[in-house]
Structure formats: C-alpha cells, structure tokens
Subunit: 382 residues, 2 copies
Amino acid sequence: MRVLILGGDGYLGWPTAMDLSSAGHDVVVVDNYLRRRIAEATDSDALMVAPSLSERAQIFKGVSGHEIDVRIGDLSDSDIIFGIVRAFMPDTIVHYAEQPSAPYSMRGFSEARETFQNNLDVTFNCIWAVKELAPDCQIVKLGTMGEYGTPDIDIEEGWIDIEHKGRKDRFLYPRAAGSLYHTTKVLDTDLLWFYVRTYGIRVTDLMQGPVYGISTEGADLDEKLCPNFHYDDIFGTLVNRFLVQAVAGIPLTVYGQGGQTRGYLNLRDTLQCVRLATENPADAGELRIFNQLTETFCVNEVADRIKAVGDSIGLDVSIQPIQNPRKEKEEHYYNPVHSGLIDLGLEPTYMTDDVIAAMLERVISNKERIVTRRIMPRVRWN
Amino acid sequence: MRVLILGGDGYLGWPTAMDLSSAGHDVVVVDNYLRRRIAEATDSDALMVAPSLSERAQIFKGVSGHEIDVRIGDLSDSDIIFGIVRAFMPDTIVHYAEQPSAPYSMRGFSEARETFQNNLDVTFNCIWAVKELAPDCQIVKLGTMGEYGTPDIDIEEGWIDIEHKGRKDRFLYPRAAGSLYHTTKVLDTDLLWFYVRTYGIRVTDLMQGPVYGISTEGADLDEKLCPNFHYDDIFGTLVNRFLVQAVAGIPLTVYGQGGQTRGYLNLRDTLQCVRLATENPADAGELRIFNQLTETFCVNEVADRIKAVGDSIGLDVSIQPIQNPRKEKEEHYYNPVHSGLIDLGLEPTYMTDDVIAAMLERVISNKERIVTRRIMPRVRWN
C-alpha cells in the first residue's frame, strides 16, 4: 500500500514510518519540525539526539534496505498537502501532525492559538485533500482517550446507544477533555464525523492512551533511529518521565493524589494498532473508532511499579506527591472498553517488570544527558 | 450594562444593537462586512439596501436619541478584539460574528476554509479576550438548533442525563449537524464548554432555530434601519424565501419531500431572548444552554400557511417540490424541549396569519427589487 504519514518526525510518526516500510508498504513522511522548534523554545529537548528525518531515512535504508521518502513542509498550508496527495495518491494517510503537548497548549494565548490553528487546519486540509483528490484513501487519525475525559459511566469505543424517554438512538460518545490540546482532538473528531457522513470518506479514529517505551524493531537497528524520547514537563508522558526521574535519582513526582487512572500502551503496540488499521481499512462512509490502550493504571500504581523495578536493579527510587498543575479529577471511575483492536489482531505488550527494567537500562545508558530542570511542571492550568 | 455586539451588521446583529440600546444599555457594535462581501461575490444581495453601520447608527440616533458606537474590524485578528474589550470592558459580549450561510460553507474548499477559520478563530479570540481581560463578562453566543441535527430521541436543552450499564452521568447533548457552517457551531460549543469548565468564564449558548421577519421596534422607526432581509439561496432562510416567492409569483420551492421539521422563531423573539440572556447572566463557570425557538413546523406546513395567507390577500401562490440540494432526512422525529427562555420571561410571537400577512405586505412594497435568479439553489451538498 501507499502510506502517507503526516507528522513523521514525532515520537510515534518516525517509528510508524519504519514499521510500515519494513512491512513492505511504500511510505512517504511529511513534517515541518514544529515539535523540534517548540522543544528548543521551551528548553524541552528529548533525551537522545535525533538526526533530521532525511538523515534517519538514509540510516534506516542502510541498515534495513527499506526506503522512506521524506518531505519537509507545513501541512496547515493546503497547497503542500494537496500537492503531496495529488502526486503520491496514498491508500492511507496516517495523521499524527498535531501539536501534541497538553501543557504547551495551556501556557498562554499564543501557544493556545498555535495549537488550535495548527491542529484544526491540518485536519481540515487532510480531509479536503482526501475528499477532492483521493476519495477512496483511508485517514487513520490519532485521537486520544483524553477526548472522553473521566465520565462516571463506562467509556465505549467512540459510540454510545442512548435510551431516553422511551426512544433510542446511537450517538458519538460525549466528550469533555482536560486540556486545549485534547480539546482540539475532540473538534477533529466532530469534523471528521461530519465529512464522513456527508461525503462518505473513510476514517479510523484511534483514541490512544498515554504511550511509553523506546524500543521498536526499527528503532533497535541503530541508536540514531531511536524515537524522540521526551521526559520534560512539555512533551514527556507519565511513564517516560518517571523512568528518567528514577534513573536521575530524583523523586517520581505524582501530581496531586495520584488516583488519576488512564489507559496505557507500549510504543510497540501503537505500531501494531496503526498497522492493523492501515491494512484493514474502514468502509467508505464509516467513522471507525477504537480505544487504543492495553491496560489501565492510576498514577500511584505506575509510580509504585517503577519504584519496585528500579529498586530491584539497584536504583534508589522515591516517590513525591506535588501540587497538581492540571485541573483534573484525582479520584474517579474509569472503565474504558478496548476490545476492537484485540478483535482486529492486536497482541498486547504489557508493562511487565521486564519491560520496565529494559526501559530503565536504556535510560541508564543515556543518564549523562538528563537535564533535571526540564522535569518539574512549568505550566499551571489556572 | 455595557454590551459589545460582534457581527453587528447582520440580520440579527443590527436589530439587537437597536433593541439593547433602546433598553438603555451602552452598546458597541463591531463588524468587518464579511457577509456583505460574500453577498456581492455570490450575487445574493438582500431585498432592501442597508446603509453602512455608521450611517444606520446616525439615522437611529436621529429617530431614537440612542447612540450606538460602531467599529469596523476583523475579529479573527486578536489585536482588534483584545483592543476593543480592553477599552470598553463590556459586561456582556453578544457573539454573532460568524459566516452564517450553510450553502456557502458547502460550496467548495475556499468557502469551507473561510467559514471554518473565521468562525472558529473569532470564537477563540472572543473567549481569550474575556478570559484575559474581562473574566466576569458574559459571552452570549449564538449557536443553532442545527447543531443537534435530527436525532430519534427528544432534544434536551444542551445537556442530557445518560444512564448506561447501571451508572449515570450528565453530558453535553450529542451533536451531529447538517452542514459545515452548523458544524463550526458544534465546535464552538465544545470549545466554550472547555474554557467554561477550566477557567470559570460565564457563557449562554443560544441554540436558535431559523429566524423569520422584518419588523422590530427599532427597524420600524425608519426604512433604512431595516434588517438585511435575504431571500436568496445563500443567506435566505426558509420563511423569508417563501414570502418573496409568494410575492414574485413564482412557486414556493420545497426541497424534497418537505417533511423536514425545524423550530422557528420571529426576529422579535430573537431580540427578546438575547436581551433576557444579557440581563440575566449565566453564573461564573456555567455554560447555560437554551433552545431558542417558539414553535415547530415542517417545510410543507410553512409552505401551506404562506400559500393560504398569500391567496387570501390576492396573491396567486403555488408550491413546487424540487430535488433537495442538501443531505438531510426528509421525514424524521423532532421534539425539542424549549422551556428555558419561557421560564426566563420570553413571550412568544407566533407565526399567525396576521404576522404572515404583514410580512407579505412589506415584501410587496419592495416587489420591484426582487431578483428571481437569486432564489433557486446553486449549491449542492454532493
């Protein structure tokens, strides 16, 4: 298949490119390095240095024999994406090209506006490029479990049947996200659903939980093919941040009471899910939604597990609750359905002690690059 | 109160400005004449010529003694709205500043993008101007009943209690709109709800049905104060279009089977509702949603009523179903709750024969200005 990956420089975008290319697909990646510029501007560089996309594609070709075509361009400019889609005529577009940091989106007006306009405009342009130029192409869109927030009822996979005053209908599951970044994904979903039901385009929207991990088959071929591993307060996700804190010998900082429960998944499983969605496309006129997670933990459980494994390999790990910089429930019900991707063939990689130990070892080998001032929260919701 | 009206040149914006000014409020209106430019570009001029906002404010001052302050500017430029809010410090912002035509939003990529970016950016800037500069100011936002679409269950006023697998929670009522224009209002609602619950701003979101009418207390003071009365396929709403067709002696064009049911209200009631919302603000941290309509009709009923009244005053009115240019259900369940504004004091102006006759007479006095080529649908959804 011909697969176009939007946001191919990201934590997920680059490993996805290697994975789909290794699977025999014809892959083009596009990025404008927005995340790199924000990381530089906010002193939030990743743990390992990532060469440019072109350099990584060259290294990957050398070690694997697979070619990845790289384009640098801003997808919020419709001419760029229309031009690429017209020339490449993809079977699938994997859309990761969004500003992905919740704290950055909550920092102030200019960061909020940048997030809002970039994320919405890229989705809008992507939809129109497909609708006008490649109507049979599937969009595989990365949403987030954060779209749902933490409702007091079970979270279904995207849709809910409502019985009300003796009548019934099926609706998009109501959403209420906890940051502007997450809210842009809610708006994306609304927009995709409008264009799916009106023009019959095909979309898979993956409601993904927080991802953790460094190792993938492609990334393990060469140190320089490593994903952008962030541990800072801007781009770092919970597990990755805790791993770095454990290695740096500073306490794992639990925000508030630590009862916040989310659905997690290993980076390797993100690749599985995106490949499964790509190779088993949604029908024309279908907005197919999967909840992309493999297991749920509260923050305290994640901290306890990393502490236990860290201590067992000789680290001295402590846990320190701090004031929660976010506005979120710290104790709540959380029961998301997540059977759709399993049904499609996902084989989960659970967060076992071995998996945690391997991640810690990898961070230990980069310990000298940890910059601890990047870890504590610098953005507060209020 | 100090009231800032965004989109003050519109069919609803200008009459609202006169109404709130007459009620003793201190009123500033802003507009960038986007609708006028689109009307000119699409050959969709209104029935009566509307002088510029400044001219109308001057005429209104002459006949009423009330002053309306006029600013011309593009509110999608944050500097403009931040500057006005900082200087005026409104108690209420009435936000009408959106591209309001569903067909225009469905015309092609550039019209869709213009609608999408204008509507979302103005709402975003409005929220931030309030949050940063006037956090106690209420935003009175014009949404649309079209946000809900035509679900097979009763439409509640913005919120719904869902019982699911033995548990309960309250959610924003699920939305599924029928055009990109209506979808931008869905996205507005999501965005407002995020900022309300996160920062405690106060918002009233008015889910308004199609409005009809020409006469208001202010507009009746001078012919030149008349609202922009559109009957074309771009900006004309159903009732106003049928009135013009009846007077022009061309058939009332029913789209498809004509079973499409919507909640209508008289322009005079829009003014009542906006004034009630302004003078009885939402609480801090409250997203208060009202369904703004007074009665429901299907298209065939509207056509039959206008035909009956038209025939009775000597017009020879016929009805002609045509192929539906839109994608919508032509027979469906429709039962919206709309008690909130009544509870607040709304006294409905129903679409009686007298009301229809008065509107027809007003159109008859402008009959020579009707341009019939503007009436038939020029935009198809597919």
